[in-house]
């Protein structure tokens, strides 16, 4: 399922029109992307979600001017990635996960200073930004350490520091948290958000196969598989594709005698009610009886009526929680398999 965004008037940060990419491989041509249409607005943090070999990285490589599309066109803030490549490179940057680039004999500061020059900054301004990013990413202690002596997490922080040097209008993050521990990954996500917040209009395109990361970070997500966009929207919109109603789990000691499942179903906004009796262990480990109600509502606001009704009937509420489908469930619904069942990444010629 794809969303046709062609014909919109306002300038997009990223606009992809009918882009396809075919690779020559030993066993025959491999279509990595199939007539992709996509529009990302300025200021968005847009996620491309899909398994290995879906085509996410291929699309990023086309947009970041590393690859040419086999068909179609793409532009970054109105600049064509094929015919205005030089200008696109002046406003973009790229971070790839598992990236071990760099000259081992240079120090962290020297490596960043070199790239500051490559991005055309006057020397003093470049060094100011280098020191700024070193501090922002907390790598001041290792700024004089050689690249070859850095750990994976430190290298990735260095990569991010490099990518922020030219204050890009569009930042491509290709599986940026691969190989990072939980704390380092969280730091990276915080920095990306801060980067966007500092300047309205800065746009980020993130590819990942970590559902939780996409769910947490992205304003909108496109789910990609076998070179096609299957669906796109906000995380909430995508989850609604799987579960149209809002589902709440309400735990009470026991359903009062004056309240029945039918009564609950009659409350305005309630679509469905299911009940199950359980034993919930208390602090001493002894199980005490609990009635769990799974209540489907048209909208979240209808929960108030349900709680009022239960409380009014004398029910003692133990817990209330919202049950949402995960993006993995969305993916399985769309694709028919889990994200871990990956196919071979299309190999280039």
């Amino acid at each position: 399922m794809s969303v046709d965004l062609l014909g919109t008037d306002s300038a997009a940060a990223v606009e992809v029109r009918g882009v396809s990419r075919v690779f020559k491989a030993k066993g025959g041509p491999v279509t990595a992307l199939h007539e992709i249409n996509l529009r990302i607005e300025p200021g968005e943090l847009f996620g491309l979600l899909g398994p290995n070999g879906a085509g996410k990285s291929t699309l990023i490589k086309i947009l970041s001017t590393l690859l040419l599309p086999s068909a179609g066109s793409a532009s970054i803030f109105g600049l064509d990635v094929v015919t205005e490549t030089d200008r696109v490179r002046r406003i973009m940057n790229l971070v790839a996960g598992g990236d071990f680039s760099g000259y081992g004999l240079l120090t962290v500061r020297e490596q960043l200073a070199m790239f500051a020059q490559f991005y055309g900054m006057p020397y003093r301004e470049g060094m100011r930004r280098v020191d700024e990013q070193i501090e922002a990413f907390g790598i001041g202690e290792i700024k004089d350490r050689k690249i070859s002596a850095l750990s994976t997490g430190q290298r990735q922080k260095l990569n991010f520091a490099r990518s922020f040097l030219n204050e890009p209008w569009i930042l491509f993050l290709d599986e940026p948290t691969i190989g990072l521990d939980v704390s380092a990954a969280r730091d990276v996500r915080d920095r990306v958000r801060a980067f966007q917040a500092a300047q309205p209009g800065r746009t980020v395109l993130l590819t990942t196969h970590y559902m939780a990361e996409a769910d947490e970070m992205c304003d909108r997500i496109a789910i990609v598989d076998h070179g096609r966009i299957l669906a796109q929207g906000t995380p909430a919109e995508l989850k609604r594709m799987v579960q149209k109603e809002s589902l709440f789990i309400v735990g009470v000691d026991a359903l009062p005698p004056t309240m029945s499942v039918a009564n609950l179903r009659a409350i305005p906004g309630v679509i469905s009610v299911a009940m199950r009796d359980e034993a919930t262990p208390d602090a001493t480990g002894v199980g005490s009886p609990t009635t769990r109600l799974a209540i489907g509502l048209k909208e979240d606001g209808a929960l108030g009526g349900v709680i009022s009704a239960l409380a009014g009937a004398g029910a003692h509420l133990r817990e209330i929680s919202k049950s949402e489908p995960t993006l993995e469930e969305v993916f399985v619904q769309l694709v028919g398999r889990g994200i871990a069942e990956s196919s071979e990444e299309p190999r280039s010629e």
Binding site: A11, G43, N93, F100, L105, Q117, G120, S348
Partner: protein
């Protein structure tokens, strides 16, 4: 996102388009600073890694000694010993051209640096020029050490009547070699595993064809062709004639002709490398060869 979105200027795309329109002076300054930036790791890398210095000196000196002892065993005039030492020093630049120019982009691709260069607004031209400048500076030091060691060990003598001419010949020879290296870098980048072996093919066979240790005159027609296409040939031949006048008769062509050949080579290879690098980038982007090993 909605609050940030509300603050986005309506004419953002127009502002960005204007921002990306760099003036000529900006582009020239950017090019120059990129060249220096890329030369930096080459120069300082060579200083920081003592083992590189060791190998860059030991191998040429061992090779030099082999040829000198071979000459001495045959009772050849010591002028040829001086010529051999000079040739060994010149060869350090050629070796650097093969391994640190021609083969460099493949290493950059495999290590991930090439991706960063491509996506930066720098272009492969300034990167290549930076590699050449850094490489030449580093090798110049090594060449001086080799000549000094050889001269002291074997008592070589030179009669340099025109030092400026010698310097110009050396400069043009080095420039032509590195310009050729830039062309080769483009070719090596998209070659398959054959490129790994091309480096070896360019070593000893080119030393023979280049008339490095023996005058190119002895190669006859092959020598005539080589002096027109291989920078090593006119550079070695001219340097020998200038630094050791008694060997001038062994030269294939007069020095001024050989200098002219070098000038043409510098121009042709420089222009060629510019187009080659652009072509390779286009081909590489079309085929994905900039990102993966071209096995």
């Amino acid at each position: 996102m909605s609050s940030i979105h509300a603050r986005i200027p309506a004419d953002l795309a127009a502002t960005i388009r204007k921002e990306t329109n760099w003036s000529l002076s900006h582009r020239l300054r950017h090019g120059a600073q990129s060249v220096l930036a890329r030369a930096y790791p080459r120069v300082f890398g060579m200083i920081r890694e003592p083992s590189w210095l060791f190998f860059d000196l030991v191998f040429p000196i061992l090779g030099m000694c082999s040829f000198v002892f071979l000459l001495r065993s045959r009772g050849v005039d010591d002028a040829w010993v001086s010529a051999t030492i000079l040739a060994s020093a010149l060869l350090t630049f050629w070796t650097s051209v093969i391994w640190m120019m021609a083969g460099q982009f493949r290493w950059e691709r495999d290590s991930g640096n090439l991706t960063l260069y491509i996506t930066a607004p720098v272009g492969l031209g300034p990167i290549t020029l930076g590699m050449a400048v850094g490489g030449a500076l580093g090798m110049a030091f090594r060449a001086v050490v080799i000549i000094t060691a050889g001269t002291v060990a074997f008592g070589a003598t030179y009669e340099i009547r025109e030092p400026a001419l010698l310097a110009l010949t050396l400069l043009l020879g080095v420039a032509a070699m590195y310009a050729l290296g830039a062309c080769l870098a483009a070719f090596f980048l998209i070659s398959g595993r054959e490129a790994d072996h091309l480096g070896d093919l360019l070593n000893e066979p080119m030393q023979l064809l280049g008339g490095v240790f023996a005058p190119i005159r002895s190669l006859g027609l092959v020598g005539m062709v080589a002096i027109g296409v291989l920078p090593l040939a006119p550079a070695a031949d001219a340097l020998r004639q200038i630094a050791i006048p008694q060997l001038a008769v062994s030269g294939l062509l007069p020095v001024n002709i050989e200098l002219l050949i070098l000038v043409v080579m510098v121009v042709v290879f420089s222009i060629g490398s510019r187009y080659a690098l652009r072509y390779i980038e286009r081909v590489g982007r079309a085929g994905g060869k900039l990102l993966t090993r071209a096995d």
